[in-house]
Amino acid sequence: MSSSKKIRVLVAKPGLDGHDRGAKIVARALRDAGMEVIYTGLRQTPEMVVSAALDEGVHCIGLSILSGAHNALFPKIMELLKEEGADDILVVGGGIIPEDDIPDLKKAGIAAIFGPGTPLDEIIEYIKANVKL
């Protein structure tokens, strides 16, 4: 029985690029949608992302990446989550990710990819509809 479940989201920037404008805008939008957003800052390794997500008990992880290393880093994060038995956490991604790469990322377990220009409401609605509380 619970009275007031709140969606908790980790917004993380894996990899080495420093372009965090998008991540911050999304973090702010999710906050304004009533979620609790944990922002971890730049240059996260997959291990750091997963460890933070577990400690914080989040329901969703939002990954932002603009360096082009998504094909390596995103699947690695999914793999680590699986090892921890935490693959019930909804993982979504965003940033500069070519269309061609999306099918493989989804196969690896990334639920959705939101590219540049995605309306913020679309991200919010997607998380609300798909997160497992």
Binding site: M1, S2, S3, S4, K5, K6, R8, A27, R28, L30, R31, D32, A33, G34, M35, E36, V37, I38, Y39, T40, G41, Q44, T45, E47, M48, S51, A52, L54, D55, E56, G57, E84, G85, A86
Partner: protein
């Protein structure tokens, strides 16, 4: 997951179970209270250190540096950092972790961010329960970082053994230092960002305030200078924290604090439970709704109605 498994997981050092329990506490799930009541006998071992001070005074960075210092001394660490929730949407941006990256892969450091969810006083309603869960989990030292505090967010004294109040140079004149509230709760003052102009003046102002404190004190709060970027002053701060704990033990104050805390907590729990049961019982009852309308139209006053309802409730419960 059953409560028994959750309790077992926390006692066996499973971080994910600790995280799960803290989420249940935050969501005010009834399982959380059951788990905490099983865990209670395993708590009371950790040294709980509150860190409070205005926004941007370097609390998170200081906690990070102190964590590094205590890790060198082989202590295990838990950190609960509280940030404000929006009064409009209930959402929150919890950003204290950003400064704590250097410990993110250290298995002996557990960090948890928390939104206030409408609770005033500088902490979240769930903070005390979360600290207790981390205590049972077995961490030696637990830092509780409050929201960026103004002048009266002083609730951290209710759960911490040692309270550190941080300030920075140039933050108001000597009158700020003699106001009531946050300046009275420190066991240790830290003037952070000591490399900035005016840090010595700040130390003098705080000391001048302490000189005229009428409460005769066996422990005069030391005023220390730190730089939480470089770590200057942090080993001395860690020593002072341990000295304070020793003082609490030797003077018997640790025991006194424990008693006071137990009394306050029991009262608070009873108050919360009674109020909730009373309200649940009354909510939607025709007489209750009628009384509310009468109060709004000034036919009755809320003071007497409250007295009457409580008296009726207590009477009905006692039968």
């Amino acid at each position: 997951m059953s409560v028994a498994d959750l309790v077992k997981g926390v006692l066996n050092g499973k971080r994910r179970d600790l995280a799960r329990l803290i989420s249940l506490i935050e969501d005010e799930d009834s399982d959380a209270l059951e788990a905490l009541s099983h865990l209670y006998k395993h708590t009371g071992k950790a040294h709980i250190i509150g860190v409070t001070g205005p926004p941007g005074s370097g609390k998170s960075s200081l906690v990070t540096k102190l964590t590094a210092e205590f890790r060198k001394r082989e202590n295990t660490i838990g950190i609960v950092c509280v940030d404000p929730s929006s009064p409009f949407t209930g959402g929150a941006l919890l950003g204290d972790r950003i400064r704590m990256q250097e410990h993110s892969l250290d298995k002996e450091v557990y960090v948890r961010s928390m939104g206030t969810r409408g609770h005033l006083g500088g902490l979240a309603r769930a903070t005390s329960g979360a600290v207790r869960a981390i205590d049972a989990f077995g961490k030696d030292i637990i830092f509780v970082e409050t929201v960026g505090a103004g002048q009266s967010e002083v609730e951290v004294i209710d759960i911490a053994h040692t309270v550190i109040v941080t300030d920075v140079p140039g933050s108001g004149d000597d009158i700020q230092a003699i106001k009531a509230g946050i300046m009275e709760i420190a066991d240790i003052f830290v003037v952070n960002k000591m490399d900035l102009d005016g840090s010595d003046k700040k130390v003098t102002e705080i000391n001048a305030m302490l000189d005229i404190d009428p409460r005769a004190k066996a422990w005069r709060p030391p005023v220390l200078l730190t730089n939480s970027r470089t770590g200057d002053g942090v080993p001395e701060l860690a020593d002072t924290i341990l000295e304070h704990l020793k003082f609490l033990k030797d003077s018997g104050q640790l025991q006194e604090k424990g008693l006071k805390r137990s009394r306050d907590e029991l009262q608070e729990l009873m108050r919360y439970k009674l109020t909730r049961e009373l309200c649940q019982k009354l909510e939607g009852q025709p007489e209750y709704e009628a009384a509310i309308k009468k109060i709004a139209s000034r036919k009755e006053d809320p003071y007497s109605v409250a007295e009457r309802l409580i008296a009726e409730f207590l009477f009905s419960e006692s039968r």
